[in-house]
């Protein structure tokens, strides 16, 4: 059943808006370019893209998802999408370049519409005053295809800490990383990821009724697409067994485990994965889908940081990421999706492997690799076993829920809420990630120290790894340590915990200040290529930063957000003190704005002081001129 068909039968519960790019914008910046960003708004939910600097045709590829409660109620304002394209001004207010106003109801009704289309920009009053260019939007309506198991999970989620949820997110990202350059880092992970997301896509497009069967099918068909995907990607790099993928993915997801709840969840997920197709159950398929797209950017960053090799692949990866989402939206049927996905997946993986190129795989990672994987391997097996029972349970519940769901609107609302929460989680994730990235960068410089840290981490986060252990206990060979090692172990470390391990783990670490020089990595790190890339990182399709997070977040979350934020900010400030390169590169826009405002205030204070002094001097001069001008005779000049 295609998405379009679905939407005829079911009201969409949310809309996913991807701001791809803009063109023919008016130029408000210097040098004939703009520092453009877009604000995406439906009702009171607002998201902002990153700023595409110095360009005339910005490309963002960033998306946001909005809930559409009571979509058909005719409440026009709530069903209107605003995409406001702004130019970020260094001083003063940002300038409006134009906005696209889209009536989602109309859009939804029009069957002929293209999913991805150019929308004309108008002025702030919604009038066409002059040529303002247009913006390319991908708009897809979605339903929350939540199954019973998902529902249950959502209940489970409640008591969990925000942080742990975030971690789930991280995990999700990892898997999605598939198409990404991440693959280069963790080749096996790529394949795993591919399969995962494939499943997810499938799941998302399958109609609720058909879901359970398909799920079962895949469950009992071990040689599902999933495996195909793996083998495809594997083919290029024959040496990498599936094992690796599981290891790496488990690594990513396993980190940050803190509460028992979380653990449970992780187990659950891991189990599903082993079961092969059931990723649906773990999280809303759509959200997963979204996430996969969104997270690519971050993933890229990770990879970049982890190893210079991959940075190059960002582009292809990103495009494939968006292609995935596009294709999923464009083609409703699971079959199509699967195909296209596979295609993409294989392409991507091949690409990334190419990019990987043997020489880049230095022996260095190998050395440190060995221990972590072993640890996780054993645990994973255990985990796997436990999880099996769980899977059955979940599936039963799911079926039940499927039936119920169609009539109960209440639940839908609940799901929406959950979705929202997920969104928020993503946002927080991002914030956290930012902090992590900084950390990672500094760590690059100490790559040789990483081996030790890896070990530490693996013991620290061993639990998480176990859960994730996917398909095959059989695949458990130490063969792939290098892969694991190459995936930067720090990527997933939560801010709170990462400082200490680093310090301990790497005695060679320079003092904090030196570490934090993030921007251009010093040549000393022996990966000059990487450093360049780091600074070149481009905003990618990733979750858009929320403008009003606090507004709709439960209280619990807020506190967590704060927790997350503080370290980031602290780090940022630390950096600004210690780095010469770009002390402000790591600050968020808000922080930068605050900074600018502060400095402006300072400047104007100084200005007024200068004026006062000038006036004072002037008055003195006037008196001098009138009383005794000879004083003003230039020095050295003869009278």
């Amino acid at each position: 059943m295609s998405l379009a068909d679905q939407s005829q039968q079911w009201y969409p519960t949310s809309v996913q808006v991807t701001v791809l790019q803009a063109r023919n914008l008016r130029i408000k910046g210097k040098n004939g370019t703009n520092d453009a960003y877009a604000i995406i708004q439906v009702a009171k939910d607002k998201f902002s893209t990153s700023v595409a600097e110095k360009c005339i045709a910005p490309v963002w590829k960033e998306e946001a998802t909005f809930d559409l409660p009571m979509f058909q109620s005719g409440n026009a304002e709530r069903q209107t999408l605003y995409v406001v394209v702004m130019h970020r001004a260094l001083v003063g207010l940002d300038k409006l370049l134009g906005q696209a106003i889209v009536n989602l109801l109309d859009l939804h009704d029009s069957k002929s519409r293209k999913r991805t289309d150019w929308y004309k920009l108008v002025d702030k009053n919604g009038k066409e005053d002059k040529e303002r260019g247009e913006v390319l939007l991908d708009i897809q309506f979605m339903r929350n295809n939540m199954t019973a198991s998902m529902f249950d999970l959502s209940m489970q989620d409640k008591p969990r800490s925000r942080l742990s949820k975030l971690k789930d997110k991280v995990r999700g990202k990892k898997r999605d990383g598939l198409s990404d350059s991440a693959s280069a880092v963790v080749p096996s992970a790529v394949s795993q990821v591919l399969t995962d997301s494939e499943e997810e896509q499938e799941a998302s497009t399958v109609s609720p009724k058909s879901k359970p069967p398909s799920k079962l099918k895949s469950l009992f068909a071990p040689k599902s697409n999933l495996h195909r995907g793996v083998s495809q990607s594997m083919s290029t790099l024959g040496t990498l067994p599936e094992k690796n993928s599981s290891l790496s993915s488990s690594r990513s997801s396993g980190l940050n485990v803190e509460s028992p709840d979380v653990k449970r969840k992780f187990k659950f997920l891991g189990h599903k994965r082993t079961g092969s197709t059931d990723s649906k159950a773990s999280l809303g398929p759509f959200s997963l889908l979204n996430r996969s797209k969104q997270n690519i950017a971050e993933q890229n960053n990770l990879c970049i940081n982890g190893s210079h090799v991959y940075a190059e692949e960002e582009e292809p990866a990103a495009s494939s990421g968006s292609m995935l989402s596009l294709s999923s939206s464009a083609k409703g049927s699971a079959e199509d999706l699967r195909k296209s996905h596979e295609r993409n997946a294989s392409d991507v993986s091949v690409d990334s492997f190419k990019g990987l190129s043997v020489p880049t795989y230095k022996p260095e990672p190998m050395e440190r690799a060995p221990r972590a994987p072993q640890l996780s391997g054993e645990d994973e097996e255990k985990k796997h076993r436990k999880a099996d029972g769980r899977l059955q349970e979940v599936m039963d519940r799911q079926e039940e829920q499927d039936r119920r769901r169609q009539q109960e609107r209440e639940e839908r609302l609940r799901r929406q809420q959950e979705d929202q929460e997920k969104k928020r989680q993503q946002e927080e994730e991002q914030q956290r990630r930012r902090g992590e990235e900084e950390k990672r960068k500094t760590e690059e410089q100490k790559r040789h120290e990483e081996a030790r840290v890896t070990e530490r981490l693996s013991s620290l986060f061993g639990l998480g790894k176990k859960k994730e252990e996917p398909h095959s206990p059989a695949t458990e060979h130490p063969t792939h340590m290098e892969v694991v090692a190459s995936s930067n172990p720090f990527e997933e470390i939560p801010l709170s915990s990462d400082t200490s391990p680093y310090l301990e783990g790497s005695p060679a670490n320079p003092p904090k200040g030196a570490q934090s020089s993030f921007a251009p990595a010093p040549p000393s790190n022996a990966f000059p290529g990487r450093t360049a890339k780091v600074s070149a990182v481009k905003p990618r399709p990733h979750p858009v930063k929320p403008m009003n997070t606090a507004e709709n977040q439960p209280n619990i979350n807020i506190s967590v957000v704060k927790d997350l934020k503080t370290p980031t900010i602290r780090e940022a400030t630390e950096k600004s003190k210690t780095t010469e390169g770009g002390p402000f590169t790591q600050l968020t826009q808000e922080e930068l704005i605050t900074l600018v405002v502060k400095q402006q205030a300072e400047l104007s204070k100084k200005d007024s002081k200068i004026l006062e002094l000038e006036d004072y001097i002037d008055n003195l001069l006037v008196r001098v001129i009138e009383e005794k001008p000879s004083i003003l005779l230039a020095l050295n000049s003869k009278v």
């Binding site: 001008p629 000879s630 230039a634 000049s637």
Partner: protein, 211 residues
């Protein structure tokens, strides 16, 4: 210097024009025959003098220099007060400095004596390759506004002497002429003891004014 002991006139001449056009270097070239390649923006107000002979008269040129004032300051009127000559300087390689000449002219006439002798000076004529203001345009503008005109190069010392001399001569002409004598324009002498020492010329007295 011997000449400062005896002079017939003290003429106050002001340099005006946008910041960076080379006023200070014109001054130092004229009074000290110096040129400073990396001179800073002028702060405050100062003047230099040079005494010269014109038509048998000893004339002390007191040339005032200040920053290109961008806003009205208390100093503005004091700066112009008593000036009998002005060099309105622009940079021939910078169109904007020329375009602002009109504004400067207005300020000048707002604060200075209406009979003040004004010369439009296109400085930096050594930057011929970067010329942004055509000589004819400037000349036309000068004629239209009753200004003297000259292009100079403080760097190469081109026309600097001539420019100042022409202004001084013109001032002297006005001062000497009867109508001016009875008019408001006056040669300015500083309130120093020497002012009157050499007052052999009858015309000096009526037009001298002690500050």
């Amino acid at each position: 210097m011997g000449s400062d002991e005896a002079y017939n006139f003290v003429f106050k001449v002001v340099l005006i024009g946008e910041s960076g056009v080379g006023k200070s270097n014109l001054l130092s070239r004229f009074t000290k025959n110096e040129f400073n390649h990396d001179s800073r923006t002028t702060i405050g107000v100062e003047f230099s003098t040079r005494t010269m002979e014109l038509n048998g008269l000893t004339i002390k040129a007191q040339i005032w220099d200040t920053a290109g004032l961008e806003r009205y300051r208390a100093i503005t009127s004091a700066y112009y007060r008593g000036a009998v000559g002005a060099l309105l300087v622009y940079d021939i390689s910078k169109q904007l400095t020329y375009e602002s000449a009109e504004r400067w002219l207005k300020e000048l006439y707002d604060h200075a004596d209406p009979h003040i002798v004004v010369m439009l000076v296109g400085n930096k004529s050594d930057l011929e390759s970067l010329r942004a203001v055509s000589t004819t345009d400037a000349k036309d503008f000068a004629e239209k506004n009753g200004l003297l005109f000259m292009e100079t190069s403080a760097l190469e010392s081109t026309n600097v002497e001539i420019a100042f001399n022409n202004v001084l001569i013109e001032i002297h002409k006005k001062v000497s002429s009867k109508e001016v004598t009875h008019g408001s324009i006056s040669a300015v002498s500083l309130s120093n003891t020497r002012a009157g020492t050499d007052d052999t010329q009858g015309e000096t007295k009526p037009c001298c004014r002690n500050l």
